[in-house]
Structure formats: structure tokens, C-alpha cells
Symmetry: C2
Subunit: 430 residues, 2 copies
């Protein structure tokens, strides 16, 4: 039953794909000892044969048609690092049909078509592992499915996008604008030329959809996630947060209180004493709250060639160990429940609001009345500064229902004494 | 092949054992769906049938002889929460011989007899899982063996003993003595009546031996670990550490630089900005440094009934999933290398030294000469306070070899101007 060689077909040789090749070369011997076989890359799908590469790779391994990998009967494991839904989805489904085990780093695919992929894996009796799709090198998907499987998970919350965390860290530490911090991130390769997926929260939304699906044993897709990005965060917000002993982070959050799943990505103010507050630059951290374990946190590099490849090769080793036992598909899809997704209007949160108002007696009373009329209870209010006839008012609310807050804001906007609501940011204290 | 019922024999019904029973009862349905079978406790080994218990347990489940569990052909998984080496070792070996899969929380057993147990498991083709033996509810052993398997691990460092961490936190926050903090810990149930194993570092030594064995793929036993406890830490040390922006923690550390394994447990000063500095009370945190993944950290409750039981039931679910596939023993012992253990004299570290000296000109020169003669390079020196004819001198060294430091200390102790060396504490900056 045991094999001497386990053959791998690699789809893609970009940043992450190169990392996979590098680790397999450098750790050839120790990996062989762990799986009692050689883990060999047999073919690599690339777009161009002629491209200059840092890695020394046997040209004979390169192929330019996926079919040469997924139809190769000698290939046991297909590793997909192409990214994006298509053609990855079609290729992976075909590979599964052909009995190949899959390792993928593709969050978009798993967050949108996870059900289809995992059901196909179940049907054809193969493993699909995707540890690298969330949190780069941080082990989080396996722990959620395995070591923490004895828990009813009530909450998953984390910083899962390195690009925006780098930008927010820079804004806070260097006092620069969002635009300047974004340019720095791009110069360092932390942000893409078209940074939309990162800064608008789409990347984080895909990741929290994957985590929520596993944590709550119910399918959550990327489109279920209420998503706001970081582009509206100003240096002013960061300064005010700082004064209140808070920091602003792009938070991905999923809660299950038994009445539905609250799943969202948005900037949030969190207390400086919160462990997520000290997660800086491109690091990621994910908190999990379970009824037995309490709070556990996982921290590390959420992206990059080698950290991501670390998770991919870890998954390949897992599959290889399974293959050596002549079995597979131990876990598969764990979404055996159906749960309702809450609308953003149903959630409750504390909120920070910054308003530009006319600096005259009675203004606060009018705004406070509007809040009160909509059951929005105020925790604190600070008049930040007077600028001639105008002033900045900053409110922090208690836990209130988002729909009530939105109604109050509508009414406040109509008040003649309010020039503008500069920003509304949710506050996560626990 | 698939079973409808997987039967469990539980050895021990103390704090952790009761937690296991509680989780299995409360999460009966969700666990059944995860493993497509019922996970049933068939027998529980107890010392006394008559004891009052918080749990409602069918008296017919209770047995008082281990043989009734390990010889029961219907029992698939034996869960050991007795603690201590014997009789746990003998019972587990016998259970393995009888084809039972094992889940244990027993750090003493695994740190001292891990090789014997895992080799027996290999011989008889069963699984032995021990996630709960380190870090309570924190997933760390599985991630090290699986998701991080693609890494060459160079370092594991953490806070793995909640009792001492609670004591050190109390001393720092309330400004109390070691003795008072220990009494508080005992009153809260965080420390045992005989607290030796915790405060002298033995518990942490067993845990780091287990982690080092897995991280470095080479057997490290508890007796290989250089161990110092926290009982000599004074409030004075904590105050001086605070002034220097450091905190004192009981650190368990293992490094592999290719020339041998440096493995030790001792109090250490760590910078306040270090992520371990903010790990308070009974929480644990473990850092792992791998060549591909960089730094990853795992954080959570390191002890307690339910957190520890969370890891145990997680392991039971893993084994049950394996059983449903008709296989076992995928990973087994991963110590396929032999590595030398370094003696404490070979290690290098920075050190904090507090001395009580005669307050007169030339004293510093004499001490500095003794350091210099033994190649101990001083980073900073602060005269802390003058008390009439005596004064406190505090030194921080650069990275130096421990044997050189020890030689320097011997010589300094002989100086007539030095009344006493109050304390020497290693400093871990990264």
C-alpha cells in the first residue's frame, strides 16, 4: 500500500508557488522522513515557459495546460495557487473527479464555492485541504476542525488582512493620511497596484466566511458578509481613538448566538488593552471563543510567499500521511447545520460617532433627543474643539441595535445645527 | 466498517475527567454528527464509588479496577486523566497492547516515557494523542506535528504554567511578596496545597520537553531540561524590571541551532513590548519560530477542567474520525533524529544582576574588572540606591556565555566590597 514517491502537480508558480517549491527542495529529507516517501513535484502549470525566475527549476517540469496535470495518472496531489475563482474552480473539480487530492490557498474559491468543492471531494473520496486560505502561515482551519471540535464556538474575531493592518498601523504611528500609507504599502509590495480587494474588505470577507462556516458548522459564503473597508478612516479618527485609549483595526468578526449568524468586516475601535490592538503591520491574529476552551488566539504572518507555503506544504504532508495509510476524506465538509444570516440592521454594537456641529447652546440637547427617541443610549460625549462658529462633537454609545442607530443618524442629519456626520465606527470591547 | 457507537473508557473522574463527561453530555448531538457515531462513555475508573460528585453519573458506569476498562473488548478509546507516571504508565501500555487508542493529558508520563508509549502505539497500530498535556485548551501539539510540519523549527518559547504566571502577575500588579501571592493562588485553587511541581518549574519542564521533542524531531525528556523555579523572585526584582520596561515571567524555552538543543525553564525578564509580557494570570502562550512560517503564537487557558477537557475531547473526535475510516496511527512518534542536549554552561543569554555592595569609590571598577576578565560585556549599570554605607548595583549584560558569567560571579562574590549578589535573572529579548 505504501508508496515510495508521492507525486505533486503544482498549478501556478507565482509568489506562493515558488515558496512551495523552495520548501520542498530545502526540506526534502525531513519531509521524506515524516511521510516515509518522497514528495516530488512532477509538473508545474505556468503561463509562460520563457519567464525569468529566481528558482532553478527543471524546464521539463513546466506545462502550460492544466489537463497535463489533472489527467496525469501518476499525480496524487494537486496544489492550486492560481487564485481567483476561474479557471481554478473548473480545474479543481476536474482534478477531484480524477481522484486527485487537493491543497489550495484560494480563499475566493473556498468562500464562494466551498460547498461544491467539498461535496465533490466527498463524492470522489479525496481530501481537500485549504489551511493557507486564511491567515497565511497561521494554523487555524485545522485547529478549528480538530482540536477545538469539542466546543460550541460562539465567536471568531480577528485581523485577517495584512495590507489594511499595515496601512492602519502606519497611519497611527507616523500620523499620515490613508492615501500616503497606501502608497507606502504599495511601494513595499504589501498592497497590490489595484488594492480594492484588500482595502474594501473583500479579502477579509472571504476569510471570515471560511472561518464562520467551520466554526459554526453552517455554510457562510462571502456574499453573506456585511463588508466595509478602511478607505473612509481618517487620521482624525485615529487621533480621537488614541485619546480614548483605543486603536482602529479592520476587524473580521463572526458571532453565533443561536438566533442567527452575525458576520461582518469593518473598521472597529478596540481598546488598547485588547490583544488584537498590539497586532501590527502585516501580522494577523484570530480569536476564537468556545464554550469549553474559553478564548484562544492564533497569531502570525498572514501572508507572504513562505508563510503561506508553510501551510500548503503542511497540508501536503497531512495528505501524504493519509495516503500512506491508504485512506482519505476523514473530515470533509463540516457544515451539517443550516443557520440564518443576520442582516446588519439586527446586530448590536457600541458606536463612535464624530460630528461637525454649530457651536451654540442647545445643540447637544437636540442631538441627544434624537438619539434618545431611537433608543440609542449614550455612554460619553466629548466636545472636541471649537472652530469659530463650528465644533466637533464625539459620541460613544452603549450597546445599541444598528437599525436604531441608523434611524437616529437619519434624524440627526436633518438637524439644522449639524453640519456633517464625519464618521461612524463600531466599537468592539471584548 | 463504520461503527454506530464508539465506546470510551475513562481513567479518572477528577477535575479534568468531570470536564470530559460534561462536554460529552452537553455536545452529544454535535459530536455525533461530526463522527457519524455516538461517542459513549462505557466505564469510568474511580477510587471511590461513594464520593459525592457534582455530575449526575450512572453508578453502573463506575469501576474500581483498570482491568475492567483495558480488558473490555467493546472499549475503543481509553482516556487517561489520572496524572503522574504510575499507575498510568502500566495501565496505558497494557491498554495499547489490547488495541485501545489512547488520549492522555499526562505531561509527566509523556515527558518521561513518551518514547516507550509511542513505540508501543506504533507496534500495536493504535493512536496516542496528548494535545491536553501542554497548554490545556490551546491547540499546539497537533499544529506542530501537522500544519507546521513543513518548517525547520528553531525555537519554542512560552508561558506554560498558569500557577506561576498568576503568582508573578499578582506580585507585579499588587506589589505583594511571593509568599502572599502563592497563598492567594492556593485560595483560588490555582495552586495546589503542595505547590512544588508548579513553583519549582517541574510542570513547565515536562511541557517544554514534550514540545521540544515534537518541534525538533528528537527526543527530549523532562530530566534534560535545566530548571529553575520562581520562588527566589522578589518584589524588588519585579520593581527593578518594571523600571527598565521589563516584566518577569517563568519562561519555558527550547532552541535548536544545529549544535544541540538548549532547553530550559527559568524566570526571565522580557521587554514589556514582547507579546508574552501581556500574558497574564492563568493564561498560557507559546511562540514557535519556523524557517518558513516565521513567528507564530498560540494563546489561551493553559489549565482548568473545561479547557483541558476541550483538548481531550478534540483528540477523541480525531481518533473517532480515524476509526470510522478503519485506520489509525497516521503520525505516531516524530522523533526520527538524535540530537545532543546542551549543558546550561554552554548557553548564551543576557543577564540582569542585582548586587548589594559597599558604597565607596572604586567598587564599580573592581566588579567591572571581574566581569571583563571573564569576557562578560556589560550593557548598562545603575546604582539603584544608597543605604548608608551600602548600595544596590544593578547590571545588565550583553549576550554572554553562561559559563563565563558563572566564573565572573564566583570572582565577584569573593570581592570584599560585595556584600551579596541578590539575584541573577536571564533576560530574553526576542
Amino acid at each position: 500500500m505504501k508508496k515510495n514517491v508521492i507525486n505533486v502537480g503544482l498549478l501556478g508558480l507565482g509568489t506562493v508557488g515558488s515558496g512551495v517549491v523552495k520548501i520542498l527542495l530545502e526540506h526534502k529529507d525531513s519531509i521524506s522522513r515524516k511521510i516515509n516517501a518522497h514528495l516530488l513535484i512532477k509538473s508545474i502549470l505556468v503561463r509562460s515557459f520563457g519567464k525569468e525566475r529566481d528558482l532553478v527549476i527543471d524546464r521539463e517540469l513546466l506545462v502550460n495546460e492544466p489537463i497535463k496535470i489533472i489527467n496525469d495518472p501518476e499525480i496524487d496531489i494537486v496544489v492550486e495557487v492560481l487564485g481567483g475563482v476561474e479557471p481554478a474552480r473548473t480545474i479543481i473539480l476536474k482534478a477531484i473527479e480524477n481522484g486527485k487530492h487537493i491543497v489550495t490557498a484560494n480563499k475566493e474559491l473556498m468562500a464562494n464555492y466551498g460547498k461544491e468543492i467539498l461535496e465533490a471531494a466527498d463524492q470522489f473520496g479525496v481530501d481537500v485541504y485549504f489551511e493557507a486560505s486564511v491567515g497565511g502561515g497561521i494554523p487555524i482551519i485545522h485547529p478549528l476542525k480538530e482540536s477545538l471540535a469539542a466546543n460550541k464556538i460562539s465567536k471568531v474575531m480577528g485581523i485577517v488582512n495584512g495590507t489594511t493592518n499595515y496601512i492602519l498601523t502606519k497611519m497611527a504611528e507616523d500620523g499620515c493620511s490613508f492615501e500616503k500609507a497606501l502608497k507606502q504599502a504599495q511601494a513595499l509590495g504589501y498592497a497590490e497596484k489595484d488594492p480594492k480587494a484588500d482595502i474594501e474588505g473583500e479579502d477579509a470577507a472571504a476569510k471570515i466566511a471560511i472561518l464562520a462556516s467551520i466554526a459554526f458548522n453552517a455554510r457562510v459564503t462571502a456574499k453573506d458578509v456585511y463588508t466595509e473597508g478602511v478607505s473612509k478612516i481618517t487620521f482624525e479618527d485615529i487621533t480621537y481613538a488614541e485619546e480614548l485609549d483605543y486603536v482602529i483595526k479592520l476587524i473580521a468578526l463572526a458571532k453565533d448566538d443561536g438566533n442567527g449568524i452575525d458576520v461582518r468586516v469593518h473598521p472597529a475601535m478596540i481598546p488598547k488593552t485588547h490583544p488584537l490592538a498590539s497586532v501590527k503591520d502585516v501580522y494577523n491574529a484570530i480569536f476564537v471563543e468556545g464554550d469549553s476552551v474559553g478564548e484562544v488566539m492564533f497569531f502570525g504572518k498572514g501572508a507572504g510567499s513562505l508563510p503561506t507555503a508553510s501551510s500548503i506544504v503542511g497540508d501536503m504532508i497531512d495528505i501524504a500521511r493519509n495516503l500512506q495509510q491508504g485512506r482519505s476524506g476523514i473530515i470533509g465538509c463540516t457544515c451539517f447545520e443550516q443557520k440564518r444570516i443576520k442582516s446588519i440592521n439586527e446586530i448590536t454594537s457600541c458606536y463612535y460617532l464624530l460630528m461637525d456641529v454649530i457651536d451654540q447652546p442647545g445643540v447637544l440637547a437636540k442631538i441627544a433627543k434624537a438619539f434618545g427617541d431611537h433608543k440609542v443610549s449614550i455612554n460619553s460625549v466629548i466636545q472636541k474643539q471649537s472652530r469659530g462658529i463650528n465644533a466637533d462633537l464625539m459620541f460613544m454609545t452603549h450597546q445599541v441595535c444598528e437599525s436604531n442607530l441608523r434611524d437616529a443618524i437619519k434624524e440627526i442629519k436633518r438637524l439644522a445645527v449639524v453640519n456633517k456626520i464625519n464618521n461612524v465606527i463600531r466599537v468592539e470591547t471584548s
